[in-house]
């Protein structure tokens, strides 16, 4: 008995976005202002102070803007926090961002 043959289509969907270039990287962290973004999970409250200490020891004049300045980047407030993030970074003259923690 010959079984029927089927020509089938893909169950996915076309991409609706374009890939973009990253923002330009910094030449050095010396003298730069680094913003910390945190989702209030996975021990960021312990790790960000360690990171601040390590970077300050390596790069003269580096300064930091704490995660509490920007709000929780995950959960119920995520959308609002991320919506206002560009303005928050700009108004505080943040040069680069470290975002954690994904676990």
């Amino acid at each position: 008995m010959n079984e029927p043959s089927y020509d089938v289509v893909w169950p996915g969907a076309p991409s609706g976005i374009e890939q973009r270039e990253l923002a330009p990287r910094l030449d050095t962290l010396a003298g730069k202002r680094i913003g910390f973004l945190w989702d209030y999970l996975f021990r960021g409250d312990e790790l960000f102070p360690i990171l601040e200490r390590e970077l300050a020891a390596r790069y003269e004049g580096v300064t930091f803007v704490g995660y509490e300045t920007f709000g929780n980047t995950h959960g119920g407030d995520e959308a609002a926090v991320i919506d206002r993030l560009p303005d928050s970074l700009r108004s505080r003259a943040v040069d680069a961002v470290v975002s954690g923690m994904g676990c």
Binding site: V9, W10, P11, I17, L22, E46, V97, V98, G102, C103
Partner: protein
């Protein structure tokens, strides 16, 4: 975490994201889905929650800080010649290396809707779909062009119409993709209105579909209300939460397939569910019982009338039976129902404070006879919710351990008295500082969601713990489509 970094990059501010080992694949997939596939990651050794403070610090300083610097300065690009797209400090090798895009190959596919992607017998098609990660492990109905077109016949819908963007993969949620997965799942064309409502919910930012692969593995439940649900073949009676009826089962299966194939919830991309659940069948409320006792359906809580056909979706972590409720008055059965709700609620309290803020909304599914026991005593749903609020309570010390010591979901392990003083929870959580005092499991009575379904005359209930903003209750009208 990655979404915040994406927002920074889009604003012209360079970023690096810290992720635990084995979370990099999901983070990279999220970055690609948001248009920044080169997003730098700095990976920690293992999982920080399983490390002593000193081990965590040592691992972080010795293996992650360099990757953070490299991500912000592009230093790894200079060293590795890979543009530093995903920098990782590998403790085994003691140096940074670059992770390629191999796990994202499936996400890079883009066949046109009508392209043939496989040909063969039904067994060969099923094998091909399983190998490519396009099926859920059960046999599928081969999605031929003819079958997909017939699924949409007479609706007047443009197959290429987009219902929104999948907030994980950046893919267009086309009508065609909805129908293709519906064919595969064994849905009937008359269920298209329900599927389109589900797709609109997935596209709604309030629902938070992007969280559907979170590690604790909650899964969505679709709750269907309205006068046409029964006519569409949905079961609201015996076995209301079990597979066995085509409408409930195939539509529930469709959701899992759609999340897999369009949202990328597979182990290779966005799914980090540690255990997960099997897909949930559609819970159809018993409209007749609700009308008889004068209670509104779940959909009424979200702005719809009893005459509207409505799909409501939320994600739930755990479920449990509240079996053999004994009593002829609501006062007799409420303590047991409340015990079930308190029993099912554990780490999820983080959605009340910690992960979320007053987002926790557990679901109570009452059998019709239990609902009638309340209604015949003159109780409304609101009365029942108020009684549950008073009875579904746990010791304050247990609440604090669940959000603090046992999970670390609330940074700083705060006491409830401090949380209330800060205005983040209502006063009922700090009526004293006695650690043995009983506190609620939701922020207000209205946070309990109550549905009515199941065997009409069995005195059982079912309770679900809720995943808060990781799948918040969202409702959409089910449009009645004209079909050929």
């Amino acid at each position: 975490m990655a979404r915040a970094a994406v927002a920074s990059e889009a604003a012209g501010v360079p970023s690096v994201s810290i992720v635990c080992e084995s979370f990099d694949g999901q983070a990279a997939a999220t970055a690609k889905g948001h248009g920044f596939e080169q997003l730098p990651l700095a990976i920690t050794v293992g999982h920080v929650d399983a490390q002593s403070a000193s081990d965590m610090e040592s691992n972080f300083v010795n293996h992650t800080v360099d990757a953070i610097v490299a991500g912000l300065t592009g230093a790894s690009a200079a060293r590795n010649g890979t543009n530093g797209r995903v920098a990782r400090s590998d403790p085994a090798e003691g140096n940074e290396r670059s992770l390629g895009p191999s796990t994202l190959d499936s996400a890079s596919l883009n066949p046109a809707p009508y392209d043939t992607v496989a040909s063969g017998s039904i067994d060969e098609i099923n094998d091909a779909f399983a190998e490519r990660g396009w099926s859920d492990g059960l046999p599928i109905v081969p999605p031929t062009v003819d079958r997909v077109e017939r699924f949409l016949a007479g609706t007047g819908l443009d197959p290429l119409q987009s219902l929104g963007i999948a907030r994980t993969t950046g893919r267009d949620m086309t009508v065609w993709s909805v129908a293709t997965n519906a064919v595969m799942a064994g849905c009937e064309p008359r269920h298209l209105g329900v599927l389109l409502a589900a797709a609109r919910i997935l596209a709604d930012p309030h629902y938070g579909a992007e969280h559907s692969g979170n590690t604790t593995g909650a899964d969505a439940l679709m709750i269907l209300d309205g006068p046409n649900a029964t006519a569409l073949g949905f079961n609201s009676g015996v076995g209301a939460l079990r597979d066995g009826v085509r409408a409930n089962t195939s539509v529930g299966r469709w959701l899992r397939l759609y999340q897999r194939n369009v949202f990328g919830f597979t182990a290779a991309e966005h799914d980090k569910s540690t255990f997960g659940n099997s897909f949930r069948v559609v819970l159809c409320e018993d409209a007749t019982a609700l009308a008889d006792i004068g209670w509104d359906p779940v959909s009424a809580e979200f702005g719809f009338g009893a005459d509207d056909d409505v799909l409501t979706m939320a994600r739930f972590n755990s479920g449990a039976i509240v079996g053999s409720a004994f009593g002829s008055t609501p006062d007799e059965i409420v303590p047991y129902l409340a015990d079930g709700l308190a029993r099912i609620t554990g780490w999820d309290l983080g959605h009340l404070y910690g992960l979320g803020r007053m987002h926790y909304r557990p679901l109570l599914v009452l059998s019709p006879i239990l609902a009638r026991t309340c209604a015949t005593s003159g109780w409304t749903k609101a009365n029942l919710a108020e009684a549950l609020f008073e009875h579904a309570r746990i010791p304050a010390w247990r609440f604090e351990k669940l959000i603090g010591e046992w999970t670390n979901l609330a940074a700083g392990r705060p006491q409830l008295t401090d949380v209330v003083a800060a205005g983040d929870l209502p006063s009922q959580f700090a009526e004293s500082d006695d650690p043995d005092r009983l506190v609620p499991i939701v922020s207000e009575p209205a946070k309990f969601v109550i549905a009515v379904a199941g065997d009409a005359n069995r005195t059982n209930a079912y309770v679900f713990s809720h995943d808060g903003p990781h799948g918040d209750y969202t409702a959409a009208a089910v449009e009645q489509l004209s079909l050929d």
